[in-house]
Symmetry: C2
């Protein structure tokens, strides 16, 4: 089974202080671009894989989704999600479920939209998961997800380097060496599963999906003006946003 | 009009000494992977955009293609292609045509397969070209092409850097800054048109194509054993091979 880093107290504590944990969707700079890949959720059945605190599930419910299911492997995350949702007027349409995405078997043709934010890079057996997602979507159903960009994940020692003119370059290597990557993000020894962008796209296609959008997210000028530290994100993409359909 | 660097005497002279010029398809290490994206060409009408010396056109003719058209903007390239083809037994099915890919208007539904090797990164108006290709393909027709990988093209100063343990890293920057890139490959001042991988894929989709394969080419172990200098290609992809259909 995959590492469940979100139930590590040190990691959970650090994660809970991130902008995207405190502010929800609006604390994630890629959210406007990710949201643009989604259809109008009104009346649709929506599944969120790796739902965390449940920000997306509550947003989907608010959009008028007919049913929303949030899945996470982390007990702490689900407890927080439930606590945060109790007083929401849209509470009734949301179901929370604890499951590992490695062994996830949702019912056939049960959802119109599957969403996932920054969770798939933890999944070791991604083809199995994508086949399960394809099965649980209705014909024409949509998969919208974000994942760490392979350029960001590949290097043995992910970092920028400064040249004499203070220009930053990302140190890229090991691109063709797929497999686990151990990083020290928020806690030591976080294990992610690195795949090339080609492998990711071809796995989607082999699992029956048609690619409809591939966004290598970068900040807008307005975002850089508001948060100058985002300028770095122009040098190399950190996140990949993908829209696909059955 | 795009720069026609291949008619620059210095560039042409240097280009003519490359393995892929002397040895043809077998001198290009990505050829086995690119060939694997092609259907059986027997009886098909095939168009090669940026045909160069015509190696692919002659190979397609030898596979039994019903008709092969090779297009290039370079007079020198086409002269060489014609001279090399004269004594080929498959000469009869091949047509050579001089045209710029920027203003190319082939007839409607005239081809089953469009092929292009390392030419599209010179094209400024790629969406217009892809729409023209879509029009000239029959329904279900195939587009197979290679292009320099955005990771290879993006940097302001494309190069590797060595760390203290002699590990190489590619200096990646400027990824979100699309537009022309001037390099000194074979001759000074070669202009290429840089786009992100996302833009390339989304332009294909917007022009009516369905993506069927995306290969970020890297060498096999056998290739590295035979040519140790190819090991570097594992650190960052230099070429992107794409298969798409109408």
């Amino acid at each position: 089974m995959t590492q469940n880093i979100y139930d590590d107290p040190e990691f959970f504590e650090a994660y809970s202080r991130l902008n995207r944990s405190v502010l929800g969707l609006d604390g994630a700079p890629e959210w406007p671009a990710l949201r643009a890949l989604l259809p109008d959720l009104h009346g649709l059945r929506v599944l969120d894989l790796g739902c965390g605190y449940g920000w997306f599930c509550r947003w989907a419910a608010k959009q008028g989704a007919a049913a929303v299911e949030g899945v996470d492997v982390s007990v702490r995350m689900l407890e927080r999600a439930q606590a945060m949702t109790q007083r929401s007027p849209h509470n009734a349409v949301i179901t929370w479920r604890r499951a590992s995405l490695e062994v996830f078997e949702p019912p056939e043709a049960a959802f119109d939209v599957v969403f996932s934010s920054l969770a798939f890079h933890y999944v070791e057996h991604l083809a199995e998961l994508l086949r399960a997602i394809h099965r649980t979507l209705v014909p024409g159903g949509r998969l919208v997800f974000s994942i760490e960009h392979p350029i960001y994940m590949a290097p043995r020692d992910p970092d920028f380097i400064l040249d004499d003119d203070n220009n930053e370059s990302w140190l890229l290597d090991s691109y063709q060496m797929e497999g686990p990557r151990v990083t020290n993000w928020l806690a030591d020894g976080v294990i992610k599963q690195y795949r090339t962008l080609g492998t990711l796209v071809n796995t989607l296609i082999d699992c029956g999906f048609t690619l409809s959008r591939l966004i290598e997210w970068g900040p807008t000028q307005a975002q850089v003006d508001a948060m100058p530290e985002l300028a770095q994100e122009r040098e190399r993409p950190m996140m990949l946003l993908i829209g696909a359909h059955c």
